[in-house]
Symmetry: C2
Subunit: 404 residues, 2 copies
């Protein structure tokens, strides 16, 4: 019984530490009295815990708090030199940044890369970029790093699993490899999950408890937040909506099937259709862009829309209609409070969002769309950096959590 009591006390302490540090991260400096109220423990317990966290260089006393009447309380803050790294890897580019303990970004850098060049090359590039950021921001020590990659992840093991658009990554131990390089704890998640978390922490989803983050980049994926927490599904592949079949026939997808949403509506699909239109002489604007640049991207289609090109407008509308079709089903099923649309293709501007909105609202039950905002991401790629940093902060602040 003694051993059981001891381990229970240890667990309670761990939970208190995690809750206290998460409060300071999300709500800013708080007085000991406020912490006692919010965490429902005594001021004596808070005092002892803050002293212990001070010795661990995680929290500091930051002077007297504003008076609430009665005895003045002491303000507590996160240690000012806590630094987290966030790396968000997409199919064609990556972002690396560092944040303080409260996840305010100190510096973020972006770089082009091709996910298909394999894990060694891409991770070396990501670490090189992160080291530049770390040096430039004067970071002495990283408390941990979070990484997002554009495909399914086994979160517990920290590896990529059967990623359709990531040849060479299947089973690669991303978490452990990066942890070894950086000498700090690392967590690995799906890119849409880290973006959803970032948008929830610092972006347009701040007040949302149940929402979807839909990323339309080269591929299409969805982060799912249930009651404020990421929902990953039993195999960690929840939100893999890019491979929902929207038609019995259609172009072959990177996953090998036909009829996938991604193969109709993702950035790669839009570029492919635009190239076909240019080559076939169906669009002068796209043909000129193709001649100038050698290849077309989804961004070029956006430029053609800006020049009033009818084919480009139709491509965007087709993409938005397919995405809206799938979202309407998900709205009926999941009844979210908010849908955030992010990813590179959203740079195409309002026409895509308008089409997605129109189809989603038209095809869903009125009850589920009565108050359902469908909005653009506020943070863009920086959201991935903040979200990745948040995931590792949760692991670092809760010392029992299993991280690499």
């Amino acid at each position: 019984m003694g051993a059981v009591r001891h381990s229970l006390a240890g667990r309670a302490e761990t939970q208190l530490q995690a809750r206290l540090l998460a409060r300071l991260r999300d709500d800013g400096p708080l007085s000991k009295a406020q912490l006692a109220d919010r965490l429902q423990v005594s001021r004596t317990t808070i005092g002892a815990e803050v002293a212990r966290l001070g010795q661990l260089d995680l929290a500091v006393e930051a002077g007297p708090a504003a008076s609430r009447g009665g005895r003045r309380s002491t303000l507590v803050d996160l240690a000012p030199d806590i630094r987290f790294a966030g790396i968000s890897i997409g199919a064609t580019g990556l972002s690396a940044g560092v944040t303080d303990g409260r996840l305010t970004t100190l510096l973020v850098r972006h770089r082009d890369c091709d996910i298909r060049s394999g894990p060694e090359k891409v991770l070396a590039l990501a670490l090189e970029l992160l080291r530049e950021v770390v040096a430039e921001a004067g970071v002495v020590r990283l408390a941990g790093a979070g990484i997002g990659v554009p495909g399914p992840v086994d979160f517990d093991r920290g590896v990529s699993v059967s990623p359709p658009i990531m040849p060479g990554w299947d089973g690669y131990p991303v978490r452990d490899a990066v942890s070894r390089e950086l000498g700090c704890p690392v967590v690995l998640d799906n890119d849409v999950n880290v973006m959803a978390v970032g948008e929830q922490h610092a972006g347009v989803a701040r007040s949302a408890r149940d929402f979807l983050y839909v990323k339309i980049g080269t591929g299409i994926g969805c982060g799912i937040v249930v009651d404020g927490e990421l929902y990953r599904g039993v195999d960690g592949c929840a939100g893999d909506i890019g491979h929902i079949r929207v038609d019995d026939f259609g172009p072959t997808c990177a996953c090998g099937n036909t009829g996938c949403l991604e193969a109709f509506a993702g950035g790669a699909a839009i570029a492919r259709e635009a190239t076909a239109a240019a080559v076939a002489g169906r669009s002068e604007v796209l043909a000129r862009l193709l001649a100038e640049r050698g290849e077309l991207t989804a961004a070029d289609v956006g430029a053609a829309v800006g020049q009033g090109d009818a084919v480009a407008v139709q491509l965007i509308r087709d993409s938005g209609r397919r995405v809206g079709q799938v979202l309407a089903s998900l709205v009926s099923f999941f009844n979210p409070g908010l849908i955030v649309i992010g990813g590179g293709v959203t740079a195409l501007g309002h026409s895509l969002l308008a089409e997605i909105r129109g189809v989603t609202y038209r095809r869903s039950l009125p009850l589920a769309t009565g108050s359902l905002p469908i909005v653009h991401s506020e943070l863009g790629p920086e959201g991935g950096v903040i979200g990745a940093a948040k995931l590792i902060s949760a692991a670092v602040y809760a010392p029992d959590a299993r991280v690499g």
Copy 2:
């Protein structure tokens, strides 16, 4: 500060009561030592709480526990005379039953009814049936009642909301009306939610944390369980998959739209198509059944399948294919660990389930279906009674919960 401490203590006590009674409900009689271990509180605290719950007629001491070495502990059980009622209302029939405090059903009765005859009539019938059950089972006092209805519900307010197949029910205060009649607390939920909870408590989903319960009756709906808890969505209409649009055209649905899953694949749709085939002379078997009975139901189509009728087989396969199509999308999105298929149409037998399985597995990502059982409900309508009783038991055991 004194007042705050007091209310915190009150809340902790409430939570302890709810957790303790839920343990006794779900795990059976437990010794005080086991309760202390599982709830992570001291044996002294357990002793005091059990004494308090004894005065409230909720728990009793049930003699000495088996020895675990050392001092012998006392066994604690739920009070033996706790009785809950569960009422599960479908489009064409209802079930009413009573359970003990541990949700073992003492007696369940079924009766045909037509949901379209409106709330006064249907609820009067349900209460009449429940009173018969209560009398026959010798119940002296109901601690509470749970009700499921076949349409969206505002759970907090206890009313039906815009139910497509339930004319006259929109905004009807079901919970308060029934609570007044029975003189006990009542909770109201969607029929698929209560069935999902029942199957989780006593049926095929006992070990599942993340699963879907898909009911194919007159209409089609889905209960969603996330991390062991019902997920209702922000407006309470999550799981309304019957109105996902599976085709741009198609028969008009009860909701007024065209192309809804339910209008293709629900029991009413199967009966409608079978009648058309019988009238057009495309199926001798169905024509004979129609002549004999005056109208055809989905069950008649099942009988025709049993007689090898090709048209009936095709109707079932078409229904299964449409359902599988939608489930494949939901599997990609939600990555559940189990799908339970329930509702009246499942009485059609294995051919429907086989078709649903085939299409769902074929169209989903391999990662998400590697270990995804798709199985029939074990409990049938009794599951709804148990689930409804479980929802009210949670409210009764947690005295602060808001119920009518």
